[in-house]
């Protein structure tokens, strides 16, 4: 709680979430409230099936919550007006477009002027290292490269908010680690407000400025943890291990699930 207060005094939150959502009789989110600072990298961590993807759909404005709302810059979210990007969990490149045109998809929809769009695509393709593959079709490149295309597509538009839904879950460990570094690298070059969803604590602590921990369904926020570590972070450093241990402890308390969830951070 104190954390949220501190944020509010520092800068105006970019995104404000205050929702409850039910799907028929099933309560998916119960009073989920949090704020994301401008240019913050926020990780949301929770057990599988706790409604993380649904939460992102609500944040993106493509799903209306049954109660409450999502505000971006103080106004209700609207994908047509707000500039939001989404990196999906499953492969989402458009198979009929080559790498370059895939990356440009958002720019085309946002009707960015052609010369400007070309410049931005060039820049982001360079950053994610796909320059030699611009004319390749998705079926000609590997799964990891496809995910990089999706990330480049998300960063290509000047998105106010970038939402990422376990984007590396289908990748093997070395690729996943490389992709984590690449996302951070891209983010450091193109500072944006990022909400990154994962069920992997290590990943959340490695990437995030803060980690929001959700409970199992119905999802509630049980903790918000600051990660005040310099990047690049070393997962083997004592500071990292300490924060990770605290998260693990909180996550484990979830499985006991009898006590009222305690707050941390």
């Amino acid at each position: 709680m104190s954390d949220t207060v501190r944020v509010a005094t520092q800068t105006r939150p970019k995104v404000q979430v205050d929702i409850s959502h039910r799907y028929g009789a099933l309560v998916v989110h119960q009073e989920v409230r949090f704020a994301v600072r401008e240019n913050e990298f926020l990780c949301i961590c929770g057990p599988s099936g706790c409604g993380k993807t649904t939460l992102l759909d609500v944040l993106a404005g493509i799903l209306k919550p049954s109660n409450g709302q999502v505000l971006i810059d103080g106004r209700p979210v609207d994908p047509k007006r707000d500039s939001i990007s989404f990196v999906f969990q499953e492969p989402s490149t458009l198979p009929w477009l080559n790498v370059r045109d895939n990356v440009a998809t958002g720019l085309r929809i946002k009707k960015v002027e052609a010369a400007e769009a070309r410049r931005r695509v060039d820049e982001i393709i360079e950053i994610v290292g796909l320059r030699d593959y611009e004319s390749y079709f998705p079926h000609q490149i590997s799964g990891g490269m496809k995910q990089r295309v999706a990330i480049a597509r998300a960063f290509a538009i000047d998105a106010d908010v970038i939402l990422m839904d376990e984007p590396f879950v289908s990748l093997d460990q070395p690729t996943r680690e490389r992709m984590q570094r690449e996302v951070l690298h891209t983010w450091e070059h193109r500072r944006r407000t990022v909400v990154f969803v994962t069920h992997n604590l290590e990943e959340a602590v490695f990437l995030g400025d803060r980690v929001v921990v959700l409970s199992a369904k119905p999802a509630r926020i049980i903790a918000t943890i600051d990660v005040p570590l310099q990047r690049p972070r070393n997962p083997l450093s004592p500071e990292f291990t300490a924060i990770r241990a605290r998260c693990v402890e909180i996550m484990q308390s979830l499985h006991v699930e009898t006590e009222t969830p305690r707050r941390a951070g």
Partner: protein, 283 residues
């Protein structure tokens, strides 16, 4: 540069050698043509040998067929109409009827695929038509229509459903994730239709068109056999059958096969051009 670092770190799984691919593709095409010619020639030889064994006026060989073909092409049939004129008449009818079937079938299929309610609520009216063969419409069409209108109508009936059904089913197979990609960027409905639905469904539509084209040829010959006109390959065959002139009938049959084959090849070529993005599955 930053980019260089990234590309070093990320080795691609598969690099396709474009030049090598081009070479092998060309080699493949040559070998395909070669084998088709060989098979065709062998079939003709077998056929010629069989006619020598059977030795009957009702079982003409390739040589007789070629003679009949040349004669029909230069001198025309008993009424003076050349093979060229007969073919043109048939092709024209097929293209008009098939064209209308595509123009109506694609948008209707897309619309009913996108708005499933329209389809499910009109199913009982729509679907039975699919099972009335175009040939069954011939008697009525003779009463109501004449000339090109009649043929276009009958061919339309034959070609419409394959195209319509392909578009309808194709829409159902559009990946929801692709729509979501556009949706989160704030894309409008028309944008999603043109840039997500249409490209995704186009391969299915072209497949449906090839089936529809087959149905169109099936219908045209049957329709032309029914009389009332002087031109058309079906008409020509039916005339010669009445005269018990087998070679000319077979010329008509072969020509229908070849014309249909050529039109199909054009569609296949279009498919290859348009859908380079699709992976090829081989066993």
């Amino acid at each position: 540069m930053i980019g260089d670092r990234m590309s070093d770190a990320a080795a691609p799984t598969k690099i396709v050698d474009d030049a090598g691919k081009e070479r092998s593709r060309l080699g493949g095409a040559v070998s395909t043509v070669f084998w088709n010619v060989v098979v065709l020639a062998a079939a003709l030889v077998v056929w010629q040998i069989l006619t020598l064994v059977v030795n009957s006026a009702f079982f003409p060989g390739p040589a007789t067929i070629v003679r009949a073909f040349v004669d029909l092409a230069i001198n025309g049939d008993t009424g003076g109409a050349t093979l060229w004129e007969h073919s043109l008449a048939s092709v024209e009818r097929v293209l008009v009827g098939f064209g209308f079937a595509c123009v109506a079938g694609v948008p209707l299929g897309l619309m009913m695929g996108l708005y499933k309610k329209i389809y499910t609520n009109t199913r009982a009216l729509l679907e039975p038509f699919r099972f009335i063969p175009p040939i069954a419409w011939i008697p009525l069409s003779i009463i109501f229509f004449s000339g090109m209108t009649r043929f276009a109508f009958l061919i339309f009936l034959g070609a419409f459903f394959p195209v319509f059904t392909a578009a309808l089913i194709g829409v159902g197979r559009v990946e929801p994730i692709h729509r979501k990609v556009a949706l989160v960027f704030g894309a409008s409905k028309p944008w999603i239709l043109m840039h997500i639905v249409v490209p995704a469904v186009l391969p299915d539509i072209l497949g449906g068109m090839r089936v529809g084209l087959g149905a169109a040829w099936l219908t045209i010959v049957a329709a032309e056999l029914s009389g009332g006109i002087s031109l058309g390959l079906g008409r020509m065959m039916s005339n010669y059958a009445e005269l018990v002139q087998v070679p000319q009938v077979i010329v008509g049959m072969i020509l229908i096969g070849v014309l249909g084959f050529l039109m199909n090849e054009v569609l296949l070529l279009l498919e290859k051009r348009l859908f380079r993005w699709r992976w090829q599955v081989t066993l």
